[in-house]
Amino acid sequence: MITVKNLSFSFGHRQLFSRLDFTIQRGELISILGPNGCGKSTLLRLLRGNLPPVTGEIYWHGMSCRQISPREMSRRVAVVPQSTRIDFPYRVQDMVAMGRYPHRRSLLSFSNAADREAIRHALVVTDILALADRPVTELSGGELQRVLFARALAQQAEVLFLDEATSHLDIDHRLELSELLIRLNREQGVTIVQISHDLDLAAATSGRIMLLNEHGEIIGFDTPERIMTPENLQRAFRVEVRIATNPLTGAPQVLPLLNTAAVQLDGLKVHLFCGGGSGKSLLRKLHLAKAAVSAGPLNQGDSDEEVATALNSAVVYEVPFQPFSEQAISTTRYALAQADAIVVATIWWGAGNLPCLDLAADALQKGTPVYLLNPTREQDFTTGKAWEKLQALQQAGAVIVANEEQLVNKLAKG
């Protein structure tokens, strides 16, 4: 029903969606998930034809979006917006009546008898009939959200787009509206595309989920069971989660792992080898666990250097874009002598940072434990020298850890 071919878009210099291709069938219930700023709302506006794509084309029933008039489009799809600024005190029923605009025949009014029936129905199912005569400016955020929902329902379109439409609602109304969505979808065959932040609700209610990463690229577009995996969610949201099965619904359920903050390292002196962003989140986690962190050598302006400096860690600095100098190496050696534990989180290896591994080997020999965070040979630009040294470290007793959470736990156990 909606076919997207080769879609790209950009806001100024910011490129979103490089060449998306997907199809939405009639009668589907789809959730779009992704981190803030990944372009979920923009994607809806593109699908709706409110924004022209930079490349590619969007087809509704095989007809290009550009050829469909605004009026015709508004009969096909209704949109429940995120939340709007309301400045004018329209009565609730007048506002819902605006949903009849695409169907109106008279110049001066929104509603004939058939329209009034649709309006009343929308008011009833969203539970705001009692508010019908109240000015919308006096409503709470949740009530207003239901008015916006009712307006979209009054539009009686075959497709419904929701942009975080349940985000301001109490749990009872959130569930109620979710049930309403499912009913609309099953009984009336309304195609629903919703943007959601509630992963569990999306998993429980959607037929398919589109998961986007921060650049608006599709990580996956499939059933909730296939999409809601720890690996996918790590790629999309950069969080570590476990997935359980909801005992009542059988839907996948996301359990965020927040325990790193609970682990206390109480001043444990940890030295971290990192760079190029490989240590950013680990620095934050160690800081939250109250470890005394030192890091380096780090080139000034490196994103890890900025985080470490901001967190008041002891940083061994190096001039930007330079291989590590003798002086930096000897300062680091001094820092390692003080440390209780050493972590190697570096991903990219080159001639410049290769001496770090020798430093780690020395420290290991002197009895300081060394942890290797998820070592790989893929980013080794030293013709294998770094990988050899890493393996040698491992044989000498360095511990390999798979992820940051595991690392922090191991550090806590000593």
């Binding site: 009969r75 709007t84 001066l108």
Partner: protein, 332 residues
Amino acid sequence: MRRPIDRTGLLWILGLLLVPLGAITISLRAGSMDMSWAQLFHLLQQGPGSSVGQAVLWKIRIPRTLLAGLVGAALSLSGVTFQAVLRNPLADPYLLGVSGGAALGAVAALTIGINSAPLVSLAAFGGALTALAIVYLVARAHTCSSHTLILSGVMVGSVAAALLLFLLWRAPTEATRQAIFWLAGNLSLADPGWLGWGWGWVLVCFILLWSQAVNLDLLTQGEETAADLGLAVGRTRLILFALAGALTACAVALAGLVGFVGLVVPHICRLLWGPAHRLLLPLAALFGACFLMVADAIARSLYAPAEMPVGVVTALLGAPFFLLLLRRRGGL
């Protein structure tokens, strides 16, 4: 909120008949020549003629009343439109550089020695429309959002104000004095011959505007929502700006820069009858006309035979009334 037919409908209809009648009578009686109710009624029955009373009523007062009504209605309609389209409660008919352009046109005409009222009006009219066109073209180069429109309006207005100051500085004293009269808003300047044209213009604009009432409602919901509901936003907004600009230009050309009416009458009407434009537009036109007729009557009678600038009265009358309503209803 409230509709005249819903609640004690008869009272509202009675009010809507009596208020204009009252305003017209007050306006007709005001002036340096006293006129009792009986005299007024008698003269109205007699029709135009050669007696002093007839001449005063039919040649001076009735045109004056009609002019006040026209200007009041035009400014209110334009204020309603600008506030809705820009979604800004502080918007008024002069926001988008219209006043600056009109003033510049009129003062330019005055300083080069043109003294006849019709030509000055025409110059003001041209200036207003030119300013509006520039603002629109500048804003269209970008997204034409309400922020860009307001900002470019303010900028065009500033340039016009600077040129205006320059002209006033260069101008002979007599022209400066006239220009100040005109800038303060003055209902005595217009040529009665233009009245028919003015009313025709306002009536046409009103009918066109009223046909857009539902579109105005949609635009108050924001550009995106209006588009989601199927409105061709760009085109509609252009039509509405053109209509509001045409109304303002007409008012300014005939009476100079009468302040406050276009800002406060829409708010008062919205507080009384709610924001739905199907009802708001005609009522604002009616109420704005009455408001300016009464304000003008007061301006003429307080220091008769001298005449106060009507802008003084509109502000002194409108602001307290507005604040009172605001206090009673609590919020816009």
